[in-house]
Amino acid sequence: MTKIISGDEISKSINNALNDAVLYSDETAAWVSLEKIHEVCEILKNPDGLDYSFLTAISAVDYIEYFEIVYHLSSLRNNQSCVIKVKCNGRENPSIESVTDIWQAADLQEREIWDLMGIEFKNHPNLKRILLWEGFDGHPLRKDFIG
């Protein structure tokens, strides 16, 4: 059975390597600060350390005051999984650092989040609309999108 690492455990491991990157944590996930997400991901991927080599999914959820970006990570070698979350405040031009250079799996998923939710990923190699056509106005998955 895949061991599900709780948010408290993973925040302890991150805090060992990097100070005050984790804002808070609970049973399901650990919330990481917006500026430090790239470094946290590098630490988590480290093959000598926790070895979360497989990025299962990146999702984005629109809670009206803020956007939340959820990273589901898996370690194939240790058969574990954990959840990292980031909060993006503000609805005008939210942006976050891209993790494409850490896991190539993030490439298409981040484009989808940009397309449907409107969250910009800095340093993404090819941030274009992927599921909707070029020139589409708006971001449909947002809660305030009127079709």
């Binding site: 299962t56 999702s59 959840v83 992927i130 056509w133």
Partner: protein, 368 residues
């Protein structure tokens, strides 16, 4: 002597094309015969499944999930209803779990038959292997029609079980199919696996190394062909997979032949699983009573199954109402397209279609 000036040419393998497995567009830049750049363009089949799910109740979304990977409906259904059950803490009776596993494994065989048939069609064998594969798939679709009345978009499962029990003559037909199928697979293998031309065109073509595969988030037969032994049915067993014995076939080098051969061996393993389930199943209820509008408590969860194309997962956030607040689909075909450029660069035009066919994408899942 001045050298002749050559320039690369960009060709559009347009959305309508006999062999891109759906409306999928590929802008390829060729230098002579060699591919130097690939840019996939999709979204032609985007129907807004995730947004639609936010305004339908939990039982209605089962029909939405059918139509994502329309070739393998049972797996989509299973992934979705497992997420809802995890979110709302609903138990599933044992007989329902056995029937679910039988349906999903039958669906896996049907999906792999289609993938193999179309791969050989792309190789140019007119349509002869395709027709043989589809003849067997028809028998599986007949079984599905006995179970739930539909052949492709099945909507058989509900949060809490399956919606009706299998009729009495289903088990007889299933036994006949299970006893015939290994012979059929042997026949298919004798025609294809040792054919010189198939070997010459698929061995060593479209390599994907194991580090690249894991880094790109690839899952399913493509990952296993790259020699990474990872299957959710064994790594994180769900339903009754921990009570049956089966192997996980892996490939050697991640080339096209490995991807084809892994699928063929997975079909054999599915037959083993089904015959063990038929022995172990007991009579009983097939559905727990749930309220008409399921209202899961506030929370979120992620749960995934091993579908025929890869890891199919649902990330669901509930706010206590009758519809999910956010229903995100982790679509395996979408993510399996990540290393497409690396798999294709450097190969020739004749290999393009074959490598694309061996990844086995379904556009309904890529675009949702």
């Amino acid at each position: 002597m001045s050298t002749i000036r050559t320039e690369p040419v960009t060709i559009n393998l347009g959305p309508q094309h006999p062999s891109t497995h759906g409306v999928f567009r590929l802008r390829v830049t060729f230098d002579g015969e060699e591919i130097i750049d690939v840019e996939p363009v999709f979204g032609y089949l985007h129907r807004g499944t995730e947004k639609l799910a936010e305004s339908r109740n939990y039982v209605q979304i089962v029909t939405l999930t059918d139509r994502m990977d329309y070739v393998a409906s049972m797996s989509n259904n299973l992934a979705y209803v497992r997420t809802v059950e995890k979110l709302a803490d609903i138990d599933v009776p044992e007989r329902a779990q056995y029937i679910r596993v039988i349906s999903v494994e039958l669906q896996r065989i049907a999906s792999h038959l289609m993938a193999t048939g179309f791969l050989l069609n792309d190789l140019g064998a007119l349509a002869t292997p395709l027709v043989y594969c589809f003849r067997e798939r028809e028998r599986i679709l007949d079984l599905f029609e006995m179970l739930c009345g539909a052949r492709i978009t099945l909507s058989y499962m509900r949060p809490g079980g399956v919606f009706q029990d299998a009729p009495a003559d289903f088990w007889n037909s299933l036994n006949v199919l299970i006893s015939d199928f290994p012979n059929y697979l042997d026949e298919l293998e004798s025609l294809i696996t040792t054919n010189e031309i198939v070997l010459a065109r698929t061995i060593g073509v479209g390599l994907l190394s194991d580090t690249q595969a894991v880094d790109s988030g690839v899952s399913g037969p493509v990952l296993r062909a790259a020699s990474v032994k990872w299957d959710l049915r064994k790594a994180n067993p769900y339903e009754i997979y921990d009570r049956v014995n089966f192997d996980i076939p892996i490939g050697n080098s991640g080339d096209t032949y490995d991807r084809y051969y892994v699928r063929l061996q997975e079909m054999r393993e599915s037959i083993k699983i089904i015959s063990q389930c038929i022995e172990q199943i007991e009579p009983g209820p097939v559905r727990t009573e749930t309220p008409f509008f399921i209202r899961p408590p506030v929370g979120e969860t992620y749960s995934s199954v091993e579908g025929p194309k890869g890891e199919l997962g649902f990330y669901m956030v509930s706010d206590g109402g009758i519809s999910p607040y956010r229903c995100k689909v982790r679509a395996p075909s979408f993510i399996n397209l990540t290393p497409l450029k690396d798999m294709l660069t450097g190969w020739k035009m004749g290999d393009l279609i074959i490598i694309l066919g061996s990844i086995d994408i379904v556009l309904g899942e890529v675009d949702r």
